[in-house]
């Protein structure tokens, strides 16, 4: 066990820092704008900035450190990847709108795609030329994702798609989507699914923004009416869509959980600043025992999160398989951030619910964070789903008794 870089890692870090110094501006360590979520205004300019930064990284071969070289990656290690992320976080860079592509669709295509499909999609994805989105959830299929009803019917060399998807982040600026459909309503629910890559600009795809509790509209509902998808955009066999979707979901948990390990110093630094200016019934926050206790507790929990990410990566880099462990991170982080943000707002006293004008604390940063957090606890598998994963796959508990197993999908009760 050694938390420090090996000489080889130190040399890699130096190379990363040199490149970042030459290509980006260093962030003020006390700048809290990195904490914002769902606050970016997704203007066309912002999308272009994100793409430009990704292309700059791609030109210097930093875009996908762990991807194999023949797909345009660096062929580097997971530890090198985390080193790059740690250093990149210290610079002012645009938001990452490529997570669904690089973190989910890419790894799924690598496992389930044909050589032609890999060549067709992965290099473009890596350069950030084209953005990807995910079409999984439906109005009637959230945690019970395999209950989805978007219909795929074979028609010559094409498939015809009809149905509706929801919670599709970034659909409005994406070129490609990963899509799970039902191709057989007579098969049991997990057997009748087929997985596609869909062109979001194809005729019959209609995207409508959904206004969120934050007031923004980062995600959408997507209606598909007689959309034609060529059969060469099917990933893996007809009827094998559930296995493909599981690959995506596993990578989703990993990218959500893994991306959350950083920022304990930033968050706690911000809480400490708050404690120096806020008053609890006339007593300065930093002189109030309850405030000090909370700040210490949150630091301890954030630190353990950061170290758990590193432990998981160490296990992976020593040949372990990415498993259900990332469920721990996703579950713990959403709950923790919700508590931290709520506490920070409590410290702001009467101004706790105010944001967005000059009199609000830090420009309403904590309020924005607080409103965004329910999404972390729901997206990518709700807390309850993560607990099932931990309970059943890691602790060996029996599954729930179910009434939807082994019968044709069309016979499953829906309450409708």
């Amino acid at each position: 066990m050694d938390f420090n870089d090996t000489p080889k890692e130190a040399a890699f870090r130096k190379e990363v820092v040199e490149w970042l110094d030459a290509n980006a501006e260093k962030r003020d360590p006390n700048d809290t704008s990195a904490m914002g979520m769902f606050s970016e205004k997704e203007s066309p300019e912002m999308i272009e900035e994100c793409k430009a930064w990704q292309q700059k990284k791609a030109d210097a071969n930093w875009a996908c450190i762990t991807w194999p070289k023949d797909l345009g990656g660096r062929g580097g290690s997971l530890m090198e990847n985390i080193i790059f992320s740690q250093e990149e976080a210290k610079y002012i860079t645009p938001a990452n709108i490529f997570m669904i592509g690089l973190g989910m669709a890419g790894p799924t295509i690598m496992v389930h795609g044909t050589p032609e499909q890999k060549k067709r999609w992965l290099p473009d994805m890596l350069r950030g030329d084209l953005v990807w989105c995910q079409l999984f959830s439906e109005p009637g299929a959230g945690s019970d994702l395999a209950g989805l009803r978007t219909k795929a019917v074979k028609d010559g060399d094409d498939w015809i798609i009809n149905g509706q998807k929801v919670w599709t982040s970034g659909a409005h600026y994406s070129k490609w989507g990963i899509l799970v459909t039902r191709s057989d309503f007579d098969a049991p629910k997990h057997k009748g699914l087929t997985y596609f890559v869909i062109d979001m600009e194809a005729p019959g795809v209609e995207i409508r923004p959904i206004k969120q509790i934050t007031g923004g509209a980062n995600f959408n509902e997507v209606f598909m009416t007689d959309v034609r998808i060529p059969d060469d955009q099917r990933l893996d066999a007809e009827g094998n869509g559930w296995a493909v979707a599981l690959t995506t979901l596993m990578n989703e948990r990993m990218s959500i959980g893994g991306g959350m390990g950083m920022g304990s110093d930033l968050l706690v630094g911000e809480l400490n600043r708050l404690a120096e200016t806020c008053y609890v019934d006339g007593v300065l926050g930093k002189d109030n025992g309850a405030v000090r206790q909370k700040i210490a507790e949150y630091y301890s929990r954030l630190k353990s999160m950061e170290l758990t990410v590193n432990r998981t990566l160490s296990a992976l880099s020593q040949g372990g398989m990415p498993g259900s462990e990332s469920a721990i991170l996703k579950l713990a982080m959403g709950l923790l951030l919700q508590e931290v943000a709520a506490f920070a707002m409590e410290l702001q006293g009467g101004m706790g619910a105010e944001f967005g004008d000059e009199s609000s604390y830090a420009g309403g940063l904590w309020q924005e964070l607080y409103l965004g957090i329910p999404a972390i606890r729901i997206a990518g598998g709700a807390d309850e789903v993560q607990r099932n994963i931990i309970g059943e796959r890691l602790l060996g508990m029996p599954g729930e008794q179910r009434v939807d197993k082994g019968i044709p999908f069309k016979d499953i009760p829906t309450g409708a």
Binding site: M1, Q293, I295, A296, S304, R311, A315
Partner: protein
Amino acid sequence: MNFLFDEDQDLLRDTVKKLLGDKATLESAHKHMESGADYDKDLWQLMAENGYQGIAIPEEYGGAGMTYLDLAVIAEELGFHYAHTPFASSIYGAAEALVVAGSDKQKNDYLPRLASGELIGTLAFYEAGGRHDAASMVAEVSGGKISGTKVPVCDGLCADIAIVSAKGDKGLSLYIVDLSQAGVERTELRTMELVRKQANITLNGVEGELLGAEGEGEALLEQIVSRAAGLTAFEQLGGAQRALDMACGYALERWAFGRQIGSYQAIKHRLADMFVKVEMARSNCFYIGWALTSSADDIAEAAAVARISAIDAYSYATQENIQIHGGIGFTWEANPHLFLKRMKQQEAQFGSAAVWKERLYKVLANKAA
């Protein structure tokens, strides 16, 4: 960067697991509770023959000179198996006090015998009121003799020496006190955890050997307690893991309403929450294990986060383990209460979560300044 134990440490764990699995069973813990023995002398001897006590003590002082991570492996397994020994008091406490503050002569005098298990040491910091902060201490040194009452002293009945804090002209200092001398009175306390005996030790003008510089007691005490608490966190982690394992075992074994109770989300989700807390504590424990081995500047922070999260995981796991067991979990005969009681004993021994949160806050504030 590597955030895992290495292969040799994994092998060490297998060996320790085997030894403790054979000798430190819960059946034997129940027997020891009934017999009232101070500790399991056969197990202590066997551990010494395998070099456990001296694993992290430098070779020049009779130890094996391995790292604190190796010691951490043993600590975690001692917690998991509910071993009935004064290991924590003697090794994380007294031996660490000598490593931190001892002169070369004192290290030569005591460490080899602590390493071989021949001598048992403990820390005697607490005084009435359950405080161990310097300001609260009443024990004093006058004319070179120490007087005062230390309570509770863990393993205070079987210990041969104690590291005692006492006030003199120059402030608080630490002393090595031979507990076999006249003027030392020990009485057993009525305590929750029946295989880790607690004592009241009254010192009536006894001899003590100054440990570290005179008047430096407060700073030394802070360092020693950080190390002892950090290593104890691994025992707490092991105990929390055991409570979780027991709860999982029972959830599979017990049926209700025609199904295994582990198939109900009310139980399964609680087990998942226990698991998350245990894994979070494990990560912070790794931090103190690494800091003690390789990064002294991080010890204060790492000990605090390890301690805070280990207390959290251990208390949640042991309380919910009883709940998941239902009525049988409330019986003396079943095992869940053993870990609940040790959890409370270990929480009390080196400072509660509230103490460590306050300390951590100060560390963070200093870091920011």
